[in-house]
Amino acid sequence: MTALDELEIRVWRGAADGHYQVFRAPRRANQTVLDVVSWIQREADPSLSYRFACRVGVCGSCAMTVNGKPRWTCRTHITKVAKDGRLTIAPLRNLPVIRDLACDMAPFFEKWRRARGRFEAAISRDDPLVPISPDSLERRAADAAVECINCAVCHAACDVVGWRPDYLGPAALNRAWVAWNDLRDRDRSAVLRAANAGAGCGNCHSHQSCAEHCPVEINPTRSIAGLKRAGLLALLRGSL
């Protein structure tokens, strides 16, 4: 048992072949996991590496594995994860570890690119804005998926990403789903082709670990299902 006013934290140190190191930190009334990590770096071991930026859940930089689950640490209150005063903090799964708690996110964003997770313009700044009904089917589908903070929590939660490292993964496919639903896009079928390619949505087994862990309540399972459906229809029509 740890004392009530103390936390016992096992923290991953080193790169992929690292180890856990145990720290003790004071428990406070208002304290997030990120605060605990910061306390360790400031007061116990100045060499601890980790990453954060906004500290309010918008930048998606601070995700780590906390007691086995991928989470945003800046918005995870200690009371939610460490009722018994114990924490195990590790870097995110499924990404190369740079050092301690910081991962290299380049492969994650490379998948985003490969999934055609972006807009391709048909018109320019010289044209008037396109009217879009907020109630249209496509717009509602996009709205439900667009507020992704690209934190890679879902990518870390998804076992298929672990099993097939080239699988595009929930976040990139979720972004592709938004692009597919954007009627302003110049070449939506390119989105469908990218998302249905070998490493694409056909690999998803609907584990729903992504939706389960997404901190902003996006449901990539739903988006991926939408891409599978659209892909299948296109294939049957011979337009994929």
Partner: protein, 112 residues
Amino acid sequence: MISAARNHPGYWAFLLHRLSGLALVFFLPVHFWVLGTALDEAAFTGFFAWTAHPLVKLGEWALVMLLAVHLTGGVRLLILEFLPWSEGQKARIAASFGLALLVGAAFALGLV
């Protein structure tokens, strides 16, 4: 220990679906082979004598369960993938498993 990130109904359902599918892949050839013995009716009948053993009965029940679990889970997945999305996926997981249990129970009732 399974990782905490996997401990939720969606993942259990996946595991069950995969394991049942895998088991079916290994069992079905055996099942087909047994049916093939019907080419020689005596052997086929002899086989059925053997099925009276309780352990074998348990095995049969398990196989029906496998098929039922994989069927209901598979249909759930097909609906998830190809019909418009609906919330309440956890309820569906529970329902598909419940349905499979019903099939299993019906079979077991006939078995004893």
